[in-house]
């Protein structure tokens, strides 16, 4: 690896997009090239500054309602249109189709993995995002408050960890039902992205290794330990979700 090549791949490496072999070459080059090491440092500082000072704008609460109202309007049965009107509609439709058509191809049929449970979990995650009242029942950034609260409500004891040193802020927890299972959702936040950590009883799962997948555009990390199954769901960076899940491992 030389400096020219290094500059081409440095950003992809920082973004966790490169394979292990190339990453090893990069490490080797950084160890012996102060100029490239300095650039790496600048990129790190840039990312910290962006994440500290560039807001992730959140959709105003009224926007969702406005969208649903307009969808309601457009889907009302229209009176049978006159011929020219129908043509106009077709033309309008075609222009939208052209705008959307470019990307429609990438929406490929690929059902979620076998477990319909996962579908339910994603639905619960989404519902909690769109209805903040539903997000958290016990509000606390202290695991010593959240844990006892859970103990009074459920007959199992999921891990609740303080990961604030790693940038994951505990927000609280809520009880949830996924299918007919009693679950608990422990809610964390990192950089304005919410993470729902679901836990539920599964006696036949003594242990299951950490697995990562994508579900409806969200990242999902699953594992099991001591008769409990866990699923962490978020739209946070995938490498961070993996880190979060690893920090939760026994």
């Amino acid at each position: 690896m030389n400096c020219t090549r290094m500059r081409q791949v440095l950003d992809a490496w920082i973004d966790g997009e490169l394979d292990a072999a190339t990453s090893t070459e990069i490490d080797r080059h950084l160890a012996e090239c102060p100029a490239c090491l300095a650039l790496k440092g600048e990129r790190g500082a840039l990312r910290r500054e962006l994440r500290a000072n560039a807001p992730r704008f959140e959709a105003p609460p009224a926007l969702r309602a406005a969208i649903l109202a307009r969808i309601e309007q457009t889907t009302l049965p229209a009176p049978a249109p006159a011929r020219h009107r129908q043509w106009l509609q077709t033309a309008a439709f075609a222009s939208i189709a052209a705008a959307v058509g470019l990307v429609a191809g990438l929406w490929i049929e690929r059902p979620l993995p076998d477990d319909s449970l996962r579908e339910h979990l994603v639905a619960s995650h989404v519902a909690s995002l769109t209805d903040p009242q539903r997000l958290i029942t016990v509000v606390s950034t202290n695991q010593h408050v959240v844990k006892p609260w859970l103990q009074g409500k459920i007959d199992f004891a999921p891990v609740v960890r303080d990961l604030s040193a790693d940038g994951y802020t505990l927000l609280g927890a809520r009880l949830d039902h996924v299918g007919d299972r009693q679950t608990v959702a422990i809610v964390y936040r990192k950089r304005n992205h919410v993470i729902n950590l679901f836990a539920w009883r599964a006696a036949d799962y003594t242990a299951e290794a950490l697995a990562l997948q994508s579900a409806r555009g969200f990242g999902m990390a699953t594992w099991a330990d001591s008769g409990l199954r866990y699923a962490a769901i978020s739209d946070i960076e995938r490498t961070d979700l993996e880190q979060f899940a690893r920090l939760m491992q026994p």
Binding site: L10, E17, L46, A66, A99, V103, T130, S214, R216, R238
Partner: protein, 177 residues
């Protein structure tokens, strides 16, 4: 009566990503009312089509619709505002951000400066920076949204960061002198 199941599916697959969509639209259009308009319009477009496809790339698909709608809206806006050149509107500083450096005199100086620097990036770099740094999406997802090869995503991110680093150093130096 329309199909309530379709609406429920729309909510769970498309509207699930409303915050991500709004954030992208806010950075692309540069102001709140325009972001609002663009996202509403994009949702209407998406609602008509989302049901004819299904799968797990719903987010990238929806984000692409939002992105295209934003650029349509900016072009439309430009048509009514001819004294501003196309390039200025699409590739320049969004209207609401133009005064940001002055507003930076206050206590949020750093935040305002960083925002102005991002807003000042040409749109092709701004969008990949927002998708990567704020939405934390993978190159593959960004490639699908922006509709360019992954190699292009890579080079735009690299160039975008070079530009950002430079403008942030420049404005930072000016501020201190």
């Amino acid at each position: 009566m329309h199909d309530p199941a379709k609406r429920a599916r729309f909510e769970s697959t498309v509207l699930a990503h409303l915050d991500a969509a709004y954030n992208l639209a806010r950075w692309l259009t540069g102001d709140t009312p325009a972001a609002d308009d663009a996202v509403q319009e994009a949702c209407l477009r998406a609602f008509r089509f989302f049901d004819t496809h299904s799968g797990t790339s719903a987010k990238a698909w929806f984000m692409a619709v939002v992105r295209n709608t934003c650029f349509d809206l900016l072009k439309e806006r430009n048509r009514y505002d001819r004294h501003e050149s196309f390039d200025d509107e699409i590739h320049g500083l969004p209207a609401a951000e133009r005064d940001a450096p002055d507003a930076a005199a206050g206590r949020n100086a750093d935040a305002a400066r960083v925002r102005a620097c991002i807003a000042g990036l040409p749109a092709e770099y701004r969008e990949v920076i927002v998708l990567r740094e704020l939405e934390e999406m993978s190159y593959k997802e960004i490639s699908a949204i922006v509709d360019v090869p992954i190699g292009t995503v890579m080079s735009r991110l690299s160039r975008g960061r070079d530009l950002l680093q430079k403008t942030m150093q420049d404005t930072g130096a000016r501020r201190q002198s």
